[in-house]
């Protein structure tokens, strides 16, 4: 599986929606239920799936799925 496919799997579990199809330009406005509280669940789930950790400063730089994916890939 590519990192994008693994990330999509995480999104589907966190937001309880098997039909989520990720695109790099997607933001919280494109995914039902992506609010500040579910964002914490998302980050924890990404960290677990990829075995990585984000620091607070990195979290503030994520504006869309593409930013998140690039950060994941840089840590793999």
């Amino acid at each position: 599986m590519t990192p994008m496919e693994r990330l999509e799997k995480v999104f589907r579990v966190v937001f309880d929606d098997d039909e989520i199809a990720l695109r790099p330009e997607m933001t919280a406005n494109d995914v039902d239920g992506w609010d500040s509280l579910s964002h914490t669940n998302l980050i924890l789930s990404v960290e677990k799936e990829f075995g990585i950790k984000f620091n607070q400063r990195e979290l503030l730089t994520f504006k869309n799925v593409g930013d998140l994916l690039r950060s994941i890939e840089s840590k793999l």
Partner: protein, 547 residues
């Protein structure tokens, strides 16, 4: 210029129908071509709707619901984010005298099931991406006949219907039947510390109080552009995002996106918002932005800022004065009261951290544990003398619980407060275990039940803990079954499970593992003991604890 409505011309010919008053009645008063709503989507897309359009679209919705066989008194839920269809369907259902229950779009299937099975809902309006949740629980909802979907073009069978298709052939000239004031209108589910959520039911009469408070507290004017940030799943989003302002013919914006400081302030500036009703958590989040951020924006048209949902800390009031040169007015009320009861308001001195005073005609009191009025400045139960126009008329199908809220001629709000020598009220806390997180009431029982569904969890106890941003946060204590150990994987599973089964708002911010959860000898969770343990305070009387 249209003459503003006074309390006297709100009701014409004894017609109390909220759907009619917010649409057709406004047209009859000369506001047909006036902007009722400018909807702004998450990506900045917009659509504008006059009162005449609001009238026509809501009439079509009324016709759709009646043609499907719903009858007055049936329950119809709206399960959508902030999109224009929410407002058309809400007002349409009320025109047809159908009881309408707005739901948070982040509810999980357990939360949906509780509310829909308790009310025996006949239909629900949703969007396609929510269908999965609804279809998962549909087998347990024999009374649910229709799922109307806003974003499919064709009917899917088995009662899953395209709203656009139904609307395309519905006539738009529906006339609301003459609706007596006691006719049931809006059903809002609210959390208690025990058992499932209860449906607080209001009557069409509530419009009297919602309209009055819009005039007397929010002091909205005919030329205002007003923004209430609350979601319609929250009572504020209904009483002051729909009924109050539109019954007064006030133009509103509705923003379909999430909290984003820049987007919010661009919206306040670019739309020239004149009155803004928001929540302390949002204001506290804004306080994290540097002062320079706010200096970028010209908010000169903004006259007044109001707050609701949680106590407004003094720091927020002082911040508002410093940055905007304005007071932020606190308002206190709750789902059951239907409208603002106690408030600070423009034209009166604002005392930071003070709730303000009751509206004229609203009798509020602080009642001590012995049932007598508490002395000045002493904490007690915040109570109201029943009979105000927007008072809830029932907990739907739970008459006994409704009656239990009234004692010795007072309605007990569940909040505690004190009253000072001048008659100002000061919020102190809750008298029960309900958690107020970001203005949303979360039932510890619902969270505890969801946690017990996690493999390995033997017991759970959930409490409210103070939080500088959320006012209160959800803290969960768990004990594990023999041979099972709590770890990061289980914690993540628990977070996701609560988010998806109950709601994201109910997600515990902290988990604490104990050997066992303190309970009374009769098996009741002693949340008081858990809270004392968390806060490091005295445990109090533990003579009934099972050891």
């Amino acid at each position: 210029m249209v003459t503003p409505i006074s309390g006297h011309d709100l009701i014409a010919d004894n017609q109390y129908n909220i759907g009619h008053i917010c649409t057709r009645h406004q047209c009859e008063l000369g506001r047909a071509d006036k902007l009722a709503m400018k909807w702004i989507g998450p990506r900045g897309e917009t659509s504008s709707h006059t009162f005449a359009q609001l009238d026509r679209e809501s009439s079509k919705c009324a016709r759709v619901l009646l043609d499907l066989g719903l009858v007055p008194g049936d329950v119809f839920f709206i399960f959508l984010p902030k999109v224009p269809e929410v407002y058309f369907a809400f007002l349409g259902a009320l025109k047809a005298q159908i009881i309408v229950g707005p739901l948070f779009s982040n509810f999980g299937d357990e939360a949906l099931l509780d509310r829909m099975s308790d009310s025996g809902a006949r239909a629900i309006l949703a969007r396609k991406s929510y269908l999965k949740k609804l279809l998962r629980i549909r087998g347990q909802l024999p009374e649910l006949k229709y799922i109307l979907v806003t974003d499919i073009d064709e009917h899917q069978g088995d009662g899953v219907l395209s709203l656009p298709k139904l609307m395309s052939t519905a006539p738009d000239d529906f006339v609301a039947p003459l609706t007596p004031p006691e006719t049931p209108s809006v059903l809002h589910y609210t959390s208690g510390s025990t058992g499932k959520p209860k449906g607080a039911l209001h009557g069409h009469r509530s419009v009297l109080m919602q309209n009055r408070t819009v005039r007397e507290v929010l002091q909205l004017r005919d030329d205002d552009l007003y923004w209430c940030t609350a979601d319609h799943g929250w009572v504020t989003g209904v009483s002051y995002g729909i009924i109050g302002p539109w019954s007064q013919g006030v133009s509103q914006i509705h923003f379909g996106g999430a909290y984003d400081p820049r987007q919010w302030f661009e919206l306040l500036q670019n739309e020239k918002v004149t009155a803004w009703y928001t929540a302390p958590t949002a204001l506290r989040m804004l306080m994290r932005e540097p002062d320079e951020f706010f200096r970028e924006f010209d908010l000169s048209p903004l006259r007044d800022i109001f707050s609701v949902g949680e106590p407004l800390n003094p720091e927020v009031v002082l911040w508002g004065r410093r940055l905007f040169g304005k007071d932020i007015y606190d308002t206190w009320w709750q789902t059951e009261t239907g409208a603002i009861m106690i408030a600070s308001r423009p034209g009166r001195e604002v005392i930071p951290a003070c709730m303000g005073r009751p509206l004229d005609g609203i009798e509020a009191a602080i009642i001590a544990d012995d049932g007598t009025p508490a002395p000045v400045n002493e904490q007690g139960s915040l109570c109201l003398k029943p009979g105000w126009d927007s008072m809830f008329i029932a907990y739907y199908k739970h008459e006994d619980i409704y009656r239990s809220k009234f004692k010795n001629g007072w309605y007990f709000s569940g909040d505690t407060a004190r009253r000072d020598e001048a008659g100002n009220f000061w919020f102190m806390g809750r008298s029960d275990d309900v958690i107020n997180t970001s203005g949303h009431l979360v039932s510890p029982f619902e969270v505890e039940s969801a946690l017990l569904e996690i493999e390995g969890v033997a017991e759970s106890g959930v409490i409210a803990a103070p939080d500088p941003m959320l006012f209160e946060k959800v803290v969960a204590f768990v004990s594990m079954k023999p041979g099972c150990e709590w770890n990061e994987d289980i914690e993540l599973k628990a977070r996701l499970h609560v988010s998806n089964r109950v709601s994201t708002m109910a997600t515990p911010q902290e988990f604490i593992v104990l050997g066992n959860i303190p309970k009374t000898k009769s098996g009741k969770i002693m949340r008081r003991v858990l809270k004392a343990r968390y806060l490091g305070t005295e445990l109090g009387d533990i003579s009934t604890m099972d050891v």
